[in-house]
């Protein structure tokens, strides 16, 4: 039986109060929202904060503001995100709806939050193990050790970014608001991440991610495709988010293709640039798939075969772009989602 370690529990009522507690406690404190990522890590002693600052009673974190663009409170559960009418009914925001709907399992989506999924700890077969298992290999670079066991000569930790919503939101041009006792800042979601499995966020320990804002995406179409072994529970071993704005004749005016789970951060590829000025022909889609594949750097630290996971990037980019083009991809989607 795995018990949680001791911690001090704080339950502030406002963002300002939570920020003051974080500023006073320093790196020994961590925020807890849904707890679905942090509590398993604490049970396995991967993370052992002295103080947990709960966001459950903090007001305003579930606000949805639908005006020019859309702002979502970071405390919305993933189920609440899925059920947000402005997401369900929009072609532009569809990638976020699809990504949130495919996170983990229904129970975990009822608990886990949007902000939590964006800050999700990176994952690795050498890290997501209990303490005895990790001690047996003398731990790893991400926690208590010195070696990255998946790439032993690596100077940095290679744990994998496993969030579904981040690739989707980056493809949609999202920004996030970070609040600390010293002030607020807004930054592009793409800039929240860096390619290091340990220091994967540019968020400071005293900052609270309070909201995600999306631009007005009328005229855009977006989609998210997820690869995992089972149709439920599993983290992505590949995520492809694509967002395209096209002229009425089909000429691509803007395109972003973002990969998840093939790096220590969500990966904005250059494949979108290849599509600009042309139409989504089979040839253009194949070229974009090839470009995206060259950017993907999966390692042997998640489920399924490493080389196969790289090979299928091109297929998944193809599924996404063909769906945006208007092809009927529903049967393929059901097969990929393991729902047939």
């Amino acid at each position: 039986m795995m018990r949680l370690p001791w911690f001090n529990y704080r339950s502030p009522k406002s963002v300002a109060e939570a920020a003051r507690i974080l500023a006073a406690e320093g790196r020994d404190a961590m925020l807890i929202a849904g707890g679905t990522d942090l509590l398993p890590n604490m049970k396995r002693r991967q993370q052992t904060p002295a103080t947990l600052v709960s966001l459950r009673q903090v007001g305003g974190l579930k606000d949805v503001v639908n005006g020019r663009g859309l702002t979502l409170g970071a405390g919305l559960t993933l189920s609440e995100v899925v059920n947000t009418p402005a997401l369900k009914d929009s072609c532009g925001y569809r990638a976020l709806h699809q990504a949130a709907a495919q996170v983990a399992s229904p129970h975990l989506r009822n608990m886990g939050t949007l902000g939590g999924n964006l800050c999700l700890d990176t994952r690795c077969l050498y890290y997501n193990q209990n303490e005895d298992w990790r001690r047996a290999i003398d731990f790893c670079m991400k926690c208590n050790g010195e070696t990255c066991w998946v790439a032993t000569s690596s100077k940095r930790c290679m744990a994998v970014s496993s969030t579904d919503t981040a690739p989707a939101l980056i493809s949609l041009g999202a920004k996030v608001r970070l609040v600390s006792a010293a002030g607020d800042r807004e930054l592009e979601l793409n800039d929240l991440y860096q390619n290091d499995g340990t220091e994967y966020l540019t968020r400071q320990p005293d900052e609270i991610l309070t909201a995600v804002s999306l631009p007005d995406l009328s005229g855009w179409k977006s989609t998210y495709w997820k690869l995992r072994r089972r149709g439920s529970f599993d983290f992505p071993i590949l995520g492809v988010a694509a967002a395209v704005r096209a002229a009425p004749d089909g000429t691509v005016l803007d395109a972003r293709i973002v990969l998840g789970a093939v790096s220590s951060r969500p990966l904005m590829t250059e494949a979108g640039g290849l599509l600009l000025g042309g139409k989504l022909t089979d040839e253009a889609i194949a070229a974009a798939g090839k470009k995206a594949t060259s950017a993907a750097k999966p390692l042997d630290n998640t489920d399924l075969d490493l080389y196969w996971r790289k090979d299928v990037v091109s297929s998944f980019v193809g599924y996404a772009l063909r769906e945006i083009r208007g092809d009927d991809m529903s049967a393929t989607r059901l097969r990929i989602m393991r729902q047939l």
Binding site: M1, R3, W6, Y9, G35, P40, S79, N110
Partner: protein
């Protein structure tokens, strides 16, 4: 039996939890999950202790009507929230239609996943009295079962939905 240290006694939290419609005062160490408090402090051992990491659904209970995992819910965060467990489902000796259907149709075999599965199904039927089999599969996709192959679970939920609907018609 766990050993209770002085430090643990001093730092215990005291609160009132609302479980199956009853207000219960309880004191426990703040690191305890709702699952641990239900089983160890309240003696409600119907909720099962599976993977402890959110990967199986055996510990599912309803909190304010939503199926959640009690192994990943801090008990200190449950004050003022309505908790429903498998123990609250039967009315005296009268089983809930879901319990009857799971027993009749082989939805429960070894039974370990059953409390979590039944509570998850109850949340579905409370919201959607006539679910399609696809809706049932989706709602139950967070409850692993190693015995049934799932088909009997889906059939059990379908049968219970029919029973609940005819009972309501009868009552009306």
């Amino acid at each position: 039996m766990s050993v209770v240290t002085d430090k643990e006694v001093q730092r215990r939290v005291h609160m009132t939890l609302q479980v199956n419609g009853e207000e219960i005062e309880v004191s426990f160490a703040p690191y305890k999950t709702l699952l641990e408090v239900l089983r160890e402090d309240l003696g409600l051992t119907g909720t099962k202790h599976g993977c402890e990491l959110g990967e199986c659904g055996a510990c599912a209970v309803l909190i304010d009507g939503e199926p959640l995992l009690s192994c990943l819910t801090l008990a200190v965060e449950c004050e003022g929230r309505a908790i429903e467990t498998i123990e609250g489902l039967a009315q005296g000796t009268q089983l809930h239609p879901l319990q009857e259907a799971f027993a009749d149709l082989g939805g429960a075999q070894c039974g370990y996943c059953t409390p979590g599965a039944v509570m998850t199904a109850k949340a579905l039927l409370d919201k959607e009295p006539s679910p399609t089999s696809q809706q049932i599969k989706e709602a139950m996709s967070g409850n692993l079962c190693r015995c049934t192959g799932y088909q009997q679970i889906v059939e059990s939920v379908e049968k219970a939905a029919t029973c609940c609907r005819s009972a309501e018609r009868g009552a009306a």
